[in-house]
């Protein structure tokens, strides 16, 4: 006779860097049902946003997430800009794209490293994070912060990248590319990695659509959805190509990230070379009025900010829907029916970021 057991997975678990608890209902080693329990780090950020004025909220938005921080502030600024009818100057758009893409490389390297760690491939984890260190150095040289860049502002960017800096950054990106070329094939072709990821945690296309999957999770299941296609910032000029896989398993999600790293490095290089000279920001006056749903493609998927201004310095409502929030229901679907030993791999294959999910 099979007895049902409930196993709590997290909130503190060696492979889960984020405080989420998965309550797993098990029959022997098989998972019958999974339920998430969050609420360990709810910071009330949406409430604080109503108390600060809308310019200060740029810094607040940046601190929603500790990994993809730049894109949060970029999305917030794009939302406010559309409310105030501002047009960002060309150089501003390019600089935003450069930082966003460099950020994406760092986020994907981090995610791949954690994935390697989740099935015990420590060596690979360290190598990926060593490469990520170069990216952090690039960000520190150009923006002043290793993760919190603080360079985005309403109307453009606050800092410029000089041509001398650009040369250094290009050289460092070469180095990143070189190291990625060495390490990433090891991740993709390794026998043990394939054993742990191929066919594990399959999310079929129709389920992915129904459950609202976004980002690499959706793209690995064959849904070609990448908001960068819609051409915000400088993406239309850079010949952006989205990466789509069809298998829908953990391996496909890894593959999507690996290919996106190459694409991001290519776009960052191109943007650095092509960036036109000119002003980096436009001045603005007045306060935002009206409501908007700002969208952007973040490393983990599509990020939505609902911003409602009422003509005063304070926003009426600022609502954040982060990609992990949308990817949790698909995660529950993937977990059902899998083995307990695969839970860490599946959970980390969606690249969860719980701190920004709870805000």
């Amino acid at each position: 006779m099979i007895r049902r057991n409930t196993i709590p997975f997290g909130p503190q678990h060696p492979v889960l860097p984020e405080p989420i608890q998965l309550r797993l209902v098990m029959e022997d080693e098989k998972i019958i049902e999974a339920l998430p329990a969050i609420g360990y780090i709810h910071r009330g950020l949406e409430k604080i946003a109503e108390k600060k004025d809308f310019i200060q909220d740029v810094y607040l938005a940046e601190r929603i997430c500790g990994i993809c921080s730049f894109m949060h502030s970029q999305n917030y600024c794009q939302g406010i800009e559309s409310l105030m009818n501002l047009t960002v100057p060309d150089r501003g758009r390019y600089l935003r794209t450069i930082w966003a893409e460099i950020h994406r490389v760092h986020s994907h390297l981090l995610a791949l490293g954690l994935l390697a760690d989740s099935f015990g491939f420590e060596n690979l984890f360290m190598q990926l994070w060593r490469t990520r260190e170069i990216i952090l150095d690039i960000m520190e040289q150009t923006a002043g912060g290793r993760v919190m860049l603080g360079t985005c502002c309403i109307g453009g960017v606050r800092k410029d990248i000089s041509s001398a800096q650009a040369t250094v950054v290009l050289r460092q990106l070469d180095q990143v590319q070189k190291e990625c070329d060495e390490i990433l094939p090891a991740l993709l072709n390794d026998y043990s990695v394939k054993q742990r990821t191929v066919g594990v945690g399959v999310l079929p296309r129709d389920k992915a659509h129904e459950l609202g999957a976004v980002g690499p999770v959706a793209r690995a299941s064959g849904i070609g959805m990448d908001y960068r296609e819609q051409g915000y910032a400088a993406y239309p000029d850079l010949g952006f190509k989205k990466v789509v896989e069809t298998a829908g398993d953990c391996y496909a999600r890894t593959l999507v990230r690996v290919k996106e790293i190459a694409e991001s490095i290519r776009m960052a290089r191109l943007a650095l070379e092509k960036a036109p000279q000119g002003p980096i920001a436009v001045p603005f006056k007045g306060n935002p009025t009206g409501e908007v749903l700002a969208r952007i493609e973040q490393p983990r998927g599509e990020l939505n900010f609902y911003i409602k201004g009422n003509g005063t310095r304070n926003l009426e409502r600022f609502r954040v829907r982060t990609p992990t929030f949308a990817n949790l229901p698909p995660l529950l679907h993937m977990l059902t029916g899998c083995q307990l030993a695969d839970v860490p791999v599946i959970a980390l294959s969606i690249d969860p970021c719980i701190s920004c999910t709870e805000r």
Binding site: K52, I55, Q56, Y59, L60, R63, N123, L124, Q127, R130, E133, D137, E140, Q141, T142, A143, G144, G145, M148, G150, R158, E182, I183, P185, A186, N189, D190, Y191, S192
Partner: protein, 99 residues
């Protein structure tokens, strides 16, 4: 494991990726936002920085003339540096030592 082997071989010949930290420190780029500092002689105690700071880290009083920053609250964003009419605030690149 075979694909990893060549990497491991290369790593053996490479110099260490880490530093002997407390003895050997990283050289910070000049752009690093380490901590906020003030040239107090130039300050006119207008309070613009206090009003704009997103974390309410600065406290300015006119009478008596004082200016203080709570380094624990400061997120080193540099917004106050931008709004200061006298350009007396600056971000230094070294981080403050642990007290």
């Amino acid at each position: 494991m075979a694909t990893m082997l060549s990497n491991i071989m290369k790593n053996l010949g490479r110099k260490a990726a880490t530093r002997l930290y407390p003895f050997e420190k990283r050289e910070l780029p000049t752009t690093t936002r380490g901590h906020l500092d003030i040239e107090i002689d130039k300050c006119i105690f207008c309070g613009a920085c206090q009003k704009r700071c997103p974390t309410n880290a600065i406290n300015v009083t006119r009478d008596p003339k004082t200016w203080a920053v709570n380094h624990y609250a400061c997120i080193v964003c540099g917004y106050c540096v931008e709004v200061c009419p006298k350009d007396c605030l600056l971000l230094r690149n070294e981080h403050l030592p642990q007290p």
